[in-house]
Amino acid sequence: MKQDNLNPSDSAKIIDEALSHVRNEKTGAYYYYILWGLILMIHFFLRYCKIVYPLLSDYYIDLIIYGVFPIGGILSFIRKDKDAQTENLVTKLEKVYAFGFVGFAICYAILGFVEIKTHVDFKTSLYPMLLGFTVFVTGGITGYKLSIVGGSIGMIISLFTLILGTEWQYLLCSLASLICCVLPGLFMKQVKNV
């Protein structure tokens, strides 16, 4: 590249070109959306099945209900390690996703702690709202419309989880996981800059 002798238009062009290169870089968030969306969908759906079909074996169903989380953790770790070997940049959007979903996890953990102390399950009824809000905000920042729509539907679902019985709460949480995470994740792969 030649140095200096730049006029203002050249400078503006260089800045614009460089930023457009960076803007088109993908984050790889789709993988985590699909993976954790599926894990949470299975988790809540099995909890629903456990109430509606009490004949199902408690031991095996509990094994799957809680066993999906360490599986998700291992798969996420493997993916992160693989990405670290191949990726050569960290985009700002990755921080948006990280802060958004860590914030979601902290809120969910606090509600879990409240449940232990008060024996009232707030976390299931508020799960679609928290997840929907997180997906809605991250979608708004990244400009990914499916996340905005999915997140909005998730927040609307919480209107029902707050008033319906436990089994319906679980079923709706499973649906919220599908709409907020799995579906946006499936289409995210084809989109630039998300």
């Binding site: 203002p8 050569n88 940049l89 960290v90």
Partner: protein
């Protein structure tokens, strides 16, 4: 009255590097080399100047067995880039 352009940023390669860095968190040397089309030696030299001015931070490490050079923009680099962009904007408005 036009403000003077920051001479350190008013260079094609250094401006391209700063423009890439302003839009991301952290980047490897290989990515910058690919996007700017510069030679490794020239890029390294210009990045050294930016680091000397405190505009970027260069971190050397390893990825597996292989050495890797990463860099990110500093707060003073962000400030300098914003000032430069503001001056360029004022020049363009008066063209």
């Amino acid at each position: 009255m036009y403000k003077d352009l920051n001479p350190l940023l008013h260079s094609q390669l250094r401006l391209a590097v700063m423009s890439v860095l302003i839009g991301i968190e952290e980047v490897e040397f290989t990515f910058l080399k690919e996007k700017t089309g510069a030679t490794a030696g020239n890029l390294s030299l210009q990045m050294g100047k930016l680091e000397e001015a405190g505009y970027i931070k260069i971190i050397k490490g390893f990825k597996g067995k292989y050495p890797v050079t990463k860099c990110h923009i500093t707060e003073s680099g962000k400030k300098a880039f914003c000032e430069y962009a503001t001056v360029i904007k004022s020049y363009l408005q008066h063209l």
